[in-house]
């Protein structure tokens, strides 16, 4: 038997040149539905002017990131049961540290330009991917198999990062993780991009990025490793090996 909850969906609203406010929608939901289902129904049956981004509904596209009761979530895989309770409020707001296009929809432009600047890989040979259950040894022909990158560029890490909130110039967790993924020895041209004031040293190790990442990237661990790579590159240069 499907459970039925009554919740108040509280939606952040902001239209061009207007001040922001929240709109409340009283909704009947199944707690085993996803937060995105509730937002989509609010649009379909209550208010057609709500703007939000969504595409794949299964955590592969990264479009539907929002703050849900104050925490960054990929709303298509976030069960209503896990973020509110029967009779309570479910508050959805746009990601922080992005310009708001309207309501819950943010502009990904600056973020995508940063990902492009570090040459973030969208696909990679499976032999170079961090996968769940890697074989003890890859066969030579395995490098022909391709994997989509774990990072879905949803921007949750950029929203949760306390340094991003103070310094928009900071490269940010996902771009730094993408640099780490490629490796500085393989891509030495990335050294100057990450070894700078707004690069890898700016991170304060809050690990908020890893806490909210829905896609197994663990940006904080990668940033720590990228620092090791930077030091390695500097030492190699010092000893004339670079």
């Amino acid at each position: 038997m499907t459970e039925n909850w009554k919740i108040t969906l509280r939606v952040y609203r902001q239209k061009e040149n207007q001040t922001s406010h929240f709109d409340d929608f009283q909704m009947d939901v199944n707690p085993d539905e996803y937060v995105l289902d509730a937002v989509e129904r609010a649009w379909a049956f209550h208010d057609r002017t709500i703007c939000f981004r969504h595409a794949c509904h299964h955590s592969t596209c990264g479009a539907c990131g929002m703050r849900v009761n104050g925490v960054e979530k990929l709303t298509c895989i976030t069960l209503i049961r896990d973020v509110t309770r029967n009779g309570a409020t479910l508050k959805v707001e746009p990601l922080r540290n992005f310009p708001v296009v309207s309501d819950l929809a943010v502009d990904m432009g600056v973020f995508y330009r940063k990902m492009e600047a570090v040459g973030a890989r969208a696909v990679l040979p499976v032999t170079e991917a961090e996968i769940e259950d890697p074989p003890s040894k890859w066969d030579a022909e395995d490098s022909q198999y391709i994997r989509l990158s774990d990072c879905i560029e949803c921007g949750l890490c950029m929203s949760a990062c306390p340094i991003m909130a103070t310094t928009p110039e900071y490269l940010g967790p996902a771009p730094l993780a993408a640099a780490q993924d490629q490796g500085l020895r393989r891509k030495p041209e990335l050294l100057s991009v990450v070894d700078c004031e707004d690069g890898v040293w700016r991170c304060h190790s809050a690990f908020e990025c890893t806490a909210v990442c829905p896609s197994f990237v663990e940006p904080a661990r990668r940033i720590m490793n990228l620092r090791v790579q930077v030091v390695d590159m500097r030492l190699r240069k010092l000893f004339g090996k670079a």
């Binding site: 989509e40 299964h58 479009a63 929809a105 502009d107 696909v123 391709i146 989509l148």
Partner: protein, 388 residues
């Protein structure tokens, strides 16, 4: 002389690919979309880059389209594709009986295939049902749905196309004779309405095509046919899996990042703005999916969703062809200025766009040939990174 202006309604696969093709042929292109890119059917595709094997027996036209376009997409947009092949797997006598016509049909449709014995299949994919009787390796693949669309849209944008998202069409502008001369839109972000004039309006709204044709007083050429998909939280296979049999419910399992996606079902629906998922269909995906991969029973659902296919032609559900149709409404209803493209599959988006752009260009006396087969797409990030 200024370039002819074409408005494309809809920024799903068909719309963005059509915008790309028309921009390459020298048109001034404006795309309007009521949400953000791919918020309808396209975003919610399971992401199977079809080799055509699935349609080879019953629908050869679709099968040939699929294998041809599969090979083209691998070349022009490798940035969004896992080109790792697919297995058609036989688990019972009925599947085995299908093998002969499957082999013959694939050969007829020039779909390459390699027969695998059970131990070979299990070596490639250790998590498939160990009761596998025979399997065929074919050039299926998988793709990232949103990024496939972004790559077309980003390249179109680079070539001058303009995108207006969160912009909903309220009505069509017409001349005294009922011919379409533009659209009236309202922008959900600003609340403002405006009129846009065009030499041709392309209706690329897929399952919603009937909403736009109705604005011109014309019949809907499309039948929305939703199906469910369930994503599970473990990547059990590296290749696309199909049950070796006539297409049915829950007989496809696809790897997608660290998941597998099981799909799908097929039923008729009228209004597809919001399609609720149902417990019985979720259960069916678990049952059917775990026949192919027993481990799915111990996995957890990670995402559950419905997507509405835009099917064209007669019949219903599975029996309907998966090919596409492009209608110049001047020819079908003597209404000039409006072209509708619908039907088809994600895999055939480029071919759908080529056909549509051919129809549009013929109306505008543009003779520039289609160049999308040979034109590699720019980085999908250009869509958000480019401002114009």
């Amino acid at each position: 002389m200024s370039k002819p202006h074409v408005i494309v309604i809809g920024a799903g696969f068909t719309g963005v690919a059509t915008a790309h093709d028309l921009a390459l042929r020298g048109c001034d292109v404006t795309v309007v979309e009521r949400g953000d890119l791919c918020n309808g059917t396209s975003g919610r595709t399971h992401g199977l880059l079809h080799s055509g094997g699935r349609y080879a027996v019953k629908d050869k036209e679709s099968a040939v389209e699929c294998i041809d376009e599969n090979m083209i997409l691998r070349k022009i947009v490798p940035q969004v594709i896992e080109p790792n092949g697919g297995l058609f797997v036989a688990l019972d006598e009925s599947d085995l009986a299908y093998a002969e016509q499957f082999i013959e049909s694939c050969e007829e449709c020039h779909i390459p295939l390699e027969e695998l014995k059970p131990d070979q299949a299990l070596k490639l994919e250790p998590n498939i049902n160990p009761k596998v009787l025979i399997a065929f390796l074919i050039p299926d693949g998988t793709f990232d749905p949103l990024r496939l669309a972004l790559a077309f849209a980003g390249t179109a944008k680079h070539n001058g196309a303009k995108f207006h998202t969160f912009t909903e069409v309220g009505s069509l502008l017409t001349d005294g004779a009922g011919n379409v001369t533009g659209i009236k839109v309202s922008n959900r972000a600003s609340g403002k309405s405006e009129e846009m004039r065009a030499d041709v309006v392309v209706n690329a709204t897929g399952a919603w095509a009937g909403h736009i044709t109705a604005m011109a007083g014309l019949d809907a050429p499309v039948k929305p046919t939703p199906g469910i998909m369930v994503a599970y939280n473990q990547r059990f296979v590296q290749r696309a899996l199909n049950r070796l049999n006539a297409p049915g419910d829950g007989d496809i399992v696809l790897p997608q990042r660290r998941m597998v996606v099981v799909g799908t079902t097929s039923f008729d629906a009228e209004d597809v703005d919001y399609i609720p998922t149902t417990d019985d269909q979720i259960k069916l995906m678990l049952e059917r999916g775990s026949e192919l991969i027993p481990g799915i029973r111990s996995a957890k659902p990670r995402g559950i969703f419905m997507a509405a296919r835009p099917l064209v032609g007669g019949g219903s559900g599975r029996s309907m062809a998966r090919t596409f149709k492009c209608y110049d409404h001047k020819e079908t209803h003597n209404v000039d200025g409006l072209v509708t493209i619908t039907g088809g599959k994600a895999t055939t988006l480029r071919a759908m766009a080529e056909k549509t752009a051919d129809v549009v260009c013929a109306k505008l006396n543009i003779t520039t040939p289609c160049a999308t087969k040979e034109t590699p797409l720019l980085s999908y990030r250009q869509y958000y990174a480019t401002t114009n």
